[in-house]
Amino acid sequence: MGRVLAIVLAVLAVVLIGTATVRTDTPSTSANSPEAAVQSLLDNAKARNWEGAYQLVAKQSNAERNDFVRDLAGRDGSLRTYSSLQSYDTKVLRETDSDAMVRTNIQWSTAVGAFYDTKDLKVVREDNIWRVVWPLEKQAKVPPQVIPVNYLRWDIVQRGSDDDWGAQNVEAPRVRIVSMNAIERDNSVIIMGELVNEDTVPGFVTVGATLVGKDGNPLAQESSFDKISHTVLPKEVSPFRVDFPKQKLANVKSVRMQPNALLVPASADPTIGVLHQRIETNAAGKKVLRGELVNQSGQIVNIPHVLATFYDNAGKVIWVNDGYVDKALQPQTPVPFAVDLRDDIAPNVQSYRVSVNEYSMNRQ
């Protein structure tokens, strides 16, 4: 009996090992339906099997393999290069024998949090196989040229250890909060507003806030993290937003703001234009602020970060939101951006202002 059991176990082990060996992590590249074609392509992309994914791209996409891979994997040190496809869901919008439209919501996990992308993908039957017409966003090639840039930057000489004790150090820039608003949304208290660098030197700015309860004791303390432009140049205005999760405005007696500015070396370049800003409704029926970013300098901006400030008809800041762009900004080349706008805020928005942070790898 024991020998039989051993033989059965050995056979089972061989079968399991064989199964594991034969099974591959590479997703299938065949698709018998439009939705399956999209899913298969995205599964391959998730596994970074670019060859398998590209096999599911329709010829009419007119996409070179390298362009397709760069579109999914990113290029030029953009945010996409620090991302991986986390999950997706698909929904067939319409389908015929020869083509179909599949709405795809893709979630990327990135270095700065989740990044969501919605695409309506056209799927066509080619050689009896469903393939995806990949909407390749071709970036215009920047022709070889010299872009003159007067490279303006601020450097700082701090006091030395051997200076006499009366020698003054250079002072931090004067930064002032020019507007502030507190609201309650989604079980959170949100403090937002704008600050301006009134000085003639750049500053690295953080805004801390403390909620003070009815009894005069602090309820919570937070600071703005990425909903602020930390490096503020002279006369530059930056929005800020500080979120206090699980707090109620009714419990707050006052708010203590602590803007903190440090004098830092900084560069005045690059200049990024924000073109054609408009509020639109996206495919999911949500309001978004869209526009295009144009890098007016000569170096690549790797990760652009868009900050949007929304005002009501009295000029009060009623919402601050941000969004990253997962494409690098090539010189003189427009790149679209979109920042979400809450549905409950949208009807009150009278005007808005967009500013751009930039993260560049090679800039000194």
């Binding site: 009134e198 003639t200 005045a268 990024i272 924000v274």
Partner: protein
């Protein structure tokens, strides 16, 4: 009554005993300038103890004239000298003013503001003792030929002054001087907010080139390079903005092409002119 007599007698005996063992007073001056030696006449030899604010000395001396060296008396304060059973106390006061510590605030200030620059001087002698006797200190601030001087008497070792910033921008040389000693600080006088911003627009290869005239504050100083100037254009496609940096006194940007746009310019809280571009021009 008898008891009272004994108490009085005991008190007299005690007083006599105490007076016979009390040390003799050394003849020392009430004050001595710091860093100057002091000679003391001593009737007996023995061990000399010198207690000061920052030092204590012990050495053997013989009868006659005892010298306290300049080095032993370089710190101002109360000293006690004991030789054998004789003792004496004196004060060492600061010597004549020889150096100063100068604190100037702030390091950077807008032009043409009253009483924004403060200078504080602490007066010291050569041994870094605070000189508390009134001493005239001269403050002088100069930028680009504009000069402002003031002389202030120190009080308790401190002299201070508040000065306006001049209307000329630049690196102001702020000096405090005393008895031939001069300490210099630099206060950066920066241009204030732009007085007005005037821009012009012209067609460019890719859109509309907007450019300001040289931007100056109300005193005529050029606003520093790097200051943000925001150009905005509103047309049927939406709003376009460029946060341009002033370079060589001028801000310049390229806005997207449009047939009918309202172009405006601003820097901080100062708004410039508007241009209606295209159809309604």
């Amino acid at each position: 009554m008898k008891k009272l007599f004994w108490y009085v007698l005991l008190s007299i005996v005690c007083w006599y005993a105490a007076s016979t063992v009390q040390a003799a007073e050394l003849k020392v001056p009430a004050t001595v300038p710091a860093g100057q030696e002091l000679k003391i006449a001593s009737s007996g030899s023995g061990t000399l103890y010198l207690f000061g604010p920052a030092s204590a000395t012990k050495r053997n001396v013989s009868a006659g004239e005892v010298t306290l060296t300049a080095d032993e008396l370089k710190h101002a304060g109360r000293y006690t000298v004991v030789i054998g059973e004789d003792r004496g106390s004196f004060f060492v006061t600061a010597a004549k003013p020889e150096s100063l510590a100068f604190i100037a605030r702030p390091s950077r200030v807008p032009t043409a503001r009253p009483d924004v620059i403060s200078g504080t001087v602490f007066v010291f002698d050569k041994n870094q003792n605070l000189v508390i006797s009134p001493t005239p200190v001269k403050f002088d601030i100069a930028v680009e030929g504009n000069n402002n001087s003031r002389t202030v008497q120190s009080k308790s070792g401190v002299a201070w002054v508040k000065l306006p910033s001049s209307s000329r921008a630049g690196a102001a040389q702020f000096t405090a001087s005393l008895a031939g000693n001069e300490v210099r600080r630099v206060v950066q006088l920066t241009a204030s907010d732009p007085c007005n911003i005037s821009m012009k627009a012209s067609p460019s290869q890719n859109g509309i080139l907007v450019e300001t005239a040289p931007i100056r504050d109300c005193s005529g100083n050029p606003v520093p390079d790097g200051t943000i100037v925001t150009f905005s254009s509103v047309d049927s496609k939406g709003k376009s903005t460029v946060d341009a940096r002033i370079k060589k006194g001028i801000a310049r940007a390229e806005l997207p092409a449009s047939n009918n746009a309202l172009i405006s310019v601003a820097s901080g809280v100062v708004v410039g002119n508007e241009i209606r571009w295209g159809g309604a021009r």
